[in-house]
């Protein structure tokens, strides 16, 4: 007994070590304290965030990945961004623009080879089976084609979004990425500026600040480059001065300098960033590190609450909690499945312990996100994926706690894995903590309606996956005995009840929200309809069961279809591109959705096969009496 407990603790400890490992790595590159640089807060898209977040999201958009693998080293997002902003000559040579579309490559003057079998080769390359030399491009390689890209993107932009060809969509995206890169380059200084600090010092000496900039003695050329810096800059690095906590008063670099020209007060942040730029360019590590340290001290003193959040977000970025959780969920699933074959007691317990620890990790990620955003857990599609996984795992843990047969763990783990994988792909579009548009800017409704509906999704998926487990174990293995089958039936029934409660209440709450903000309770909007479909389907399952229209296997088959209904409501309606709730994206996800729904139909068909074709024989089920109304209403 004691030995068993020790093993459980060891497992928990090892998991935590794995999750927290990134904290022990410090990002110091060639002596530059890039990590501290990455913690500095800036304003972008209405939110104050660390530079590291800007780097990560930009790199995801441009590169499709959060690390840059060079022949001899790996760059962190901040290593990369520091180069882009402060050493453009080096950055421009890094092959970071990922271009998968072959037509786009042709447009850039590199057709996929004319020799025989080139097509097949390109296909293998796309699968990663042969090296693909043209997959990554540097800015320098793209530069001669910028005009061509812009023209093609403009042509594509005239076509209605749903009608665009893959090439048109790709070239538009490439254009956006090139623009983003260009903006990043011109955020702290005009790209390629030599000794920015020195130039600023000279400017400070040369001019006499005046409300009318032209009268201050600044050259027209300098004034022009300042306004260019303001217009092109991607983010707002300069906090309000004198320091107040008002996001609306953050400025771009150009405006920060212009403020000195008109007002005579040089913002310490402007000088600090200029000092960093000059030192980084001159390979002066101590100068750079001192400038970063000094400025970090300044913001910490004047905007303490922002710095706390910014630091936490940096740590959150480093940890990648959802990614770690995703990996461990796979392990849990394998452990739980193995427990049905060997050592059911031991492996089941290990899987459950691991599940509990991973749930803590998953919850921590969720809570940190909520704190950073100041919002309830679900604010967009990305966070809905994270939360559906979380809800399913929570319910799975409760099931496992009661039944102790590995089923709750296995199902929770597989849903946790799939939803986090979906979230991972959704995060490719950029910042997942966006500001909420006017009508959504209400924490009360986000916390009630959205959370209820999302828990309804989670529960319906859980019931569906439990039913899948029933069908797979019953049809393909002989491991589904009567007792397990019955406990699975109980679980599915209970979870469907739970799903009905949450999806029903959540859907009506949505109606009431709509009544509060648009004056109509129900508008037959696709997303509303999707939620209603889930309610109706769960109601059908319950009524069919109560009416004795289905028994154990019928219940399972119906529950599997719940997966199809929920997947449709979650993603399908977004792909229609209509209605108030549509997000307009994800052409690439469409085949996956179709594939998922198709696979569920196949499982339903297997579930409906005559009982004698199954490997597990469950004769008793055939003779089980239908549930009576009197019984279920106990």
């Amino acid at each position: 007994m004691k030995k068993g407990t020790l093993t459980l603790w060891l497992i928990a400890l090892a998991t935590l070590l794995y999750v927290l490992a990134p904290l022990f790595r410090h990002d110091v590159r060639n002596g530059f304290e890039i990590e501290k640089f990455g913690r500095l807060p800036v304003l972008l898209n209405g939110r104050i965030k660390p530079l590291d977040t800007v780097a990560r999201n930009s790199l995801l958009i441009i590169h499709g990945n959060q690390t840059v693998r060079l022949p001899h080293e790996q760059l962190t997002p901040m290593d990369w961004l520091a180069e882009v902003m402060l050493k453009p000559d080096t950055a421009d040579q890094q092959k970071i623009f990922i271009i998968r579309n072959l037509e786009t490559r042709t447009a850039l003057g590199r057709p996929p080879g004319a020799k025989n079998g080139a097509e097949a080769n390109a296909f293998l390359a796309a699968l990663g089976m042969v090296p693909d030399p043209d997959k990554y491009w540097s800015f320098r390689e793209l530069f001669p084609h910028v005009q061509e890209i812009e023209q093609q993107a403009e042509l594509a932009g005239r076509v209605d979004a749903p009608l665009r060809s893959p090439f048109q969509r790709d070239i538009m995206k490439l254009y956006e990425r090139v623009v983003l890169y260009h903006k990043l380059q011109n955020s702290l200084q005009i790209s390629g500026t030599e000794d920015f600090k020195g130039q600023l010092d000279a400017l400070q000496k040369a001019i006499h600040p005046s409300a009318i900039p032209m009268q201050s003695g600044i050259s027209a050329e300098a004034l022009q480059s300042l306004s260019a810096l303001s217009q092109t800059g991607y983010f707002f690095p300069i906090p309000p001065f004198p320091p107040v906590d008002d996001p609306l008063q953050w400025k771009k670099m150009g405006d920060g300098i212009l403020h000195f020209v008109t007002d005579g007060k040089m913002h310490p942040a402007v000088l600090a960033f200029a000092a960093m730029a000059s030192a980084f360019e001159a390979n002066d590590t101590s100068g750079f590190n001192t400038a970063v340290d000094n400025y970090a001290g300044w913001v910490k003193e004047h905007l303490p609450s922002r710095v706390r959040k910014s630091n936490l977000e940096y740590v959150f970025n480093q940890l990648q909690l959802f990614y770690s959780a995703m990996v461990i969920y796979v392990l849990i699933f394998l452990l739980a499945c193995a427990s049905w074959l060997i050592w059911p007691e031991k492996l089941g317990r290990y899987a459950f312990a691991l599940l509990l620890v991973t749930f803590v990790v998953h919850s921590a990620g969720l809570i940190i996100r909520m704190y950073l955003e100041g919002r309830p857990p679900v604010t967009n599609l990305y966070s809905s994926a994270v939360f559906i996984g979380w809800g399913s795992v929570l319910l799975g843990i409760m099931l496992e706690r009661f039944f102790r047969n590995g089923i709750g763990s296995a199902t929770a783990a597989i849903i946790g894995f799939i939803t986090l994988l979906i979230a991972h792909h959704l995060s490719m579009d950029g910042d997942t903590m966006e500001m909420m548009r006017a009508v959504l800017d209400t924490n009360g409704w986000l916390a009630t309606h959205v959370v209820c509906v999302t828990l309804g999704y989670a529960a319906t998926f859980l019931a569906g996956f439990l039913a899948l487990l029933y069908i797979v174990r019953g049809a393909f293995t002989s491991s589904l005995d009567r007792k397990t089958a019955q406990s699975l039936a109980r679980m599915v029934y209970g979870i469907v009840c739970f799903a009905t409660l949450f999806s029903f209440v959540g859907t009506i709450l949505g109606g009431i929200w709509a009544d509060q903000s648009w004056g109509r309770f129900w508008g037959w909007d696709p997303k509303e309809n999707g939620a209603l479909l889930i309610v109706l389907w769960n109601a059908i399952i319950l009524h069919a069961r109560w009416g004795g229209l289905v028994r154990q296997r019928g219940l399972m088959v119906l529950a599997v279809f719940g997966n199809v209904v929920t997947a449709w409501s979650w993603f399908g309606v977004n792909m229609l591109g209509i209605g108030l709730h549509s997000y307009g994206f994800m052409e690439s996800a469409f085949p996956w959705l179709i594939g998922f729904c198709g696979s569920q139909l196949v499982f339903m068909a297997i579930g409906a096969l005559p009982a004698h074709t199954w490997r597990s024989q469950l004769e008793s089920v055939k003779t089980a009496p239908p549930v009576k109304m009197a019984d279920v209403s106990v």
């Binding site: 707002f236 609306l248 903000s517 004795g548 229209l549 209605g579």
Partner: protein
Amino acid sequence: MAATASTSAFARSPFRALASLRLTVVCLGFGMLLIFLGTLAQVHSGIHAVQATYFQSLFIFWKPAGASWGIPVLPGGYLLGVVLLVNLIAAHATRFQFTKKKAGIICLHLGVILLLIGQLLTGLFARETQMRIDEGQTLAYSEASREVELAVIDVTNSEYDNVVAIPEKVVARGGVVQHPSLPFTVRIKRFLPNASLFMRSQVPNAPASEATIGVGPTIVATEQPRTIKDDERDLTAAFVEVTGVSGSLGTWLVSNAIPDPQSFTLGDRTFELIMRQRRFPKAFAITLLDFKHDQYAGTDIPKNFSSRVRLVDQERGENREALISMNDPLRYRGFTFYQSGFDNNDTTTILQVVRNPAMLLPYIACGLVALGLTLQFSMHLFGFVKKKR
């Protein structure tokens, strides 16, 4: 009592069949199919058309191209709603006793009944109109966004106008309209539900206009298919002939695309003719004092829209300011005013004005359903946990 409904039960008592769970399941199934198809149809038909054909109807008809008849293929929203309602009430009348154990189910089903009734009443009686007010402007009426009227206004007296408004339905029917306060008849010669209007100079070789007077002769009006897009509205037009006792005064082209009224005199009285969005007069007036459009720092993502208005009601002695913003409407005398849109560089507000006598029902229903489901399922859960222990 067993809930199984078999065909023999159907034979025994049609009432029992009406109360059967089988019927419930079938109706819910059809409901899902209807909603799914209704969602898909929105891609091509627009939400308003879909609402009318799928959800606010008794049957969905399949119509061969060009035919005026159709075959009913699916029950519509109203039919399904009513059958479910009857099914539910019948089930409670025959099967359920009022016991403590059934409290949850009864409570929840009562909520569902209220929800269905509420939607039925809303579909039948609710009215959505709009108010489009510029800053500083005062309005005492709201307008239908998708319905026009032909207004004949007697402006002879400078103190007040005398308005005869002919609804779109009547104009669409065509024929002659006569009203006791008008010394002439109005004949609708041609009605175009949706039309494009161009200056005659821009359209070479256009056929001669049916209009003989007013701006009509200088304009070419061509009929267009009605719009299905939610963010567009039809430009409606009509050719109308005004005939007094001494004969025709001429034929006018009227349209909601022509903003200014066209005037004419008959005897010593002056009249104006205008086609405009149908108006619903209010017993009170609303003035827009200020419209605000806030954005998040450094973005064009809207953070909030709000309209500061003054509400003046002579009848009730009301004269006060109110703030209407997203998620925070103004409610007054049975009307609810929602922030719906804006225009003209943030100086014009568009308010959605809704009157819905059944507005409260969903709120009560939500409470009942939540309570009922929670009661029912927690009883299950406690029973289950006890058994397991």
